[in-house]
Symmetry: C2
Subunit: 204 residues, 2 copies
C-alpha cells in the first residue's frame, strides 16, 4: 500500500482487470455486474477477462476473498493484544473501521449482501467464532459486564462504526446530509464512539 500512484496503464493487464473488478463488483454486486462492465472499466478486451481468470465466478471469488479479509481483518490484530486496555482497543478498532470504510465506502454493503446470497465463499471465515470467544478482547469486556453476552458490545461497536456508511446513500437522497457534513460526522465519531461505548459499559 506504499505507492498507489500508478496509473492504470502502468499496471499489468491482469492487475488492471482485478482493479476494475474490485470497483464494479463492490459497487453493483455479483448479479448486477456484467463482464462487459469490468472489461470496459479496465479498458481491455472482453476476451481477456476469461483468458486471465477463466470465468466471471472465478474472478469474483478472488475479489470476494480479498474484500472479506479487508473487512474482518480490522478486528483481528486487536483480539489477542495483551498489552492494551479495553478502552484503547475500542479506540483503535473504531479508528481503523472508519478509516477503512471511508476509503472503501461500498465495502460493507458488498460484504454483507454477497455473503447472504452465496453459500460457498465463507468457508474461510467459518469456525473463527471460537477464536473470537476465547480472545483477550472478549475477556476484557466480560470483566466489565460479566452477566451480559459480550457480543452485545461488539455488535454495538461495529454497528456505530459501520452502519452510518450503509445509511449514507439514503441520507444523501433524503437531503439529510451532504457529503461534507457526513465526512465531518464520521471524523467526529472517531472520538465519540469510544466515549459512548464506555458509557454503555458502565450503564445500568
Amino acid at each position: 500500500m506504499a505507492k498507489k500512484a500508478k496509473a492504470d496503464s502502468d499496471l499489468s493487464t491482469e492487475e488492471k482487470i482485478k482493479e476494475a473488478a474490485r470497483k464494479v463488483f463492490t459497487r453493483k454486486g455479483y448479479a448486477a455486474t456484467r463482464t462487459r462492465d469490468i472489461a470496459e472499466e479496465a479498458d481491455i478486451n472482453l476476451a481477456l477477462l476469461n483468458y486471465y481468470f477463466r470465468s466471471k465466478g472465478k474472478l469474483f471469488e478472488i475479489i470476494m476473498a480479498e474484500k472479506m479479509q479487508q473487512f474482518f481483518g480490522v478486528m483481528e490484530p486487536m483480539l489477542n493484544n495483551t498489552s492494551t486496555t479495553l478502552q484503547n482497543k475500542i479506540e483503535r478498532i473504531t479508528s481503523a473501521y472508519i478509516d477503512l470504510i471511508t476509503h472503501n465506502p461500498d465495502l460493507p454493503l458488498f460484504i454483507l449482501s454477497e455473503i447472504r446470497n452465496s453459500p460457498e465463499h465463507f468457508l474461510k471465515i467459518t469456525g473463527k467464532a471460537s477464536a473470537l470467544f476465547k480472545s483477550v478482547l472478549i475477556k476484557q469486556i466480560q470483566e466489565k459486564k460479566p452477566d451480559r453476552n459480550p457480543l452485545h458490545f461488539l455488535l454495538n461497536l461495529m454497528s456505530m462504526c459501520v452502519f452510518p456508511f450503509v445509511m449514507n446513500p439514503v441520507l444523501k437522497k433524503m437531503g439529510a446530509v451532504d457529503e461534507k457534513t457526513f465526512a465531518k460526522m464520521m471524523k467526529e465519531r472517531k472520538k465519540l464512539i469510544p466515549v459512548w461505548v464506555k458509557s454503555m459499559l458502565e450503564a445500568e
Copy 2:
C-alpha cells in the same frame, strides 16, 4: 395484519404473485431475481406475471414502494408526538424496529442495497429531511445535547436496532450465534438499547 392464516391457494392470483415477489425480491435483490423464480414461488404460470404486472420492473416498483414505507414508516409516528418523553420515544422506536425486522429479516439489506443502485425509486423519500429536522424528536434530542448534531444519536439508535440483523447471516456462518441465541439477544436489546442511548446522551 389481523389474520395471516390464509393459505396461498386462498389468495387471488394477483396477490399470490405479489406475495411471492415480496419474498424473492427482498431475499435476492432485483438483479439476482428471475421472473421464473417468482412464478415458481407463487406456483403460477410465468406468463401470468406479465399479464398482471406488465413487467418485472413494474412489479418491483410496487414491492419496493411497499417495503420503503414499511422500513421508514417506523419512525414517522414518533417524530412529532408532543405527549411522550424522549426516553419513551426511544423505547417505542426500538421496540417497533426490532419487531418489524424480526418478522422481515431481509428488509434492511434489501432497502439499503436497492436504494443505492436504483436512482428512480426514492422520489418518494426525497425531501423528507426538512420534516425530520423540524420534528419534535430532534428538538428533544437537542435539548439534551445542544452542541452535537442530533443525527448522531438517531444514527446510533437505528444502528443498534438494525445492524445486528444485517450481521446475523455472517454471525451464523461464523458459528458465533445460533438462531435461538440471536433471537434471545434481540429480545434483550429491546430493553438494553434505550438504556444505552440514555447513557450516551448523558456521557462526556
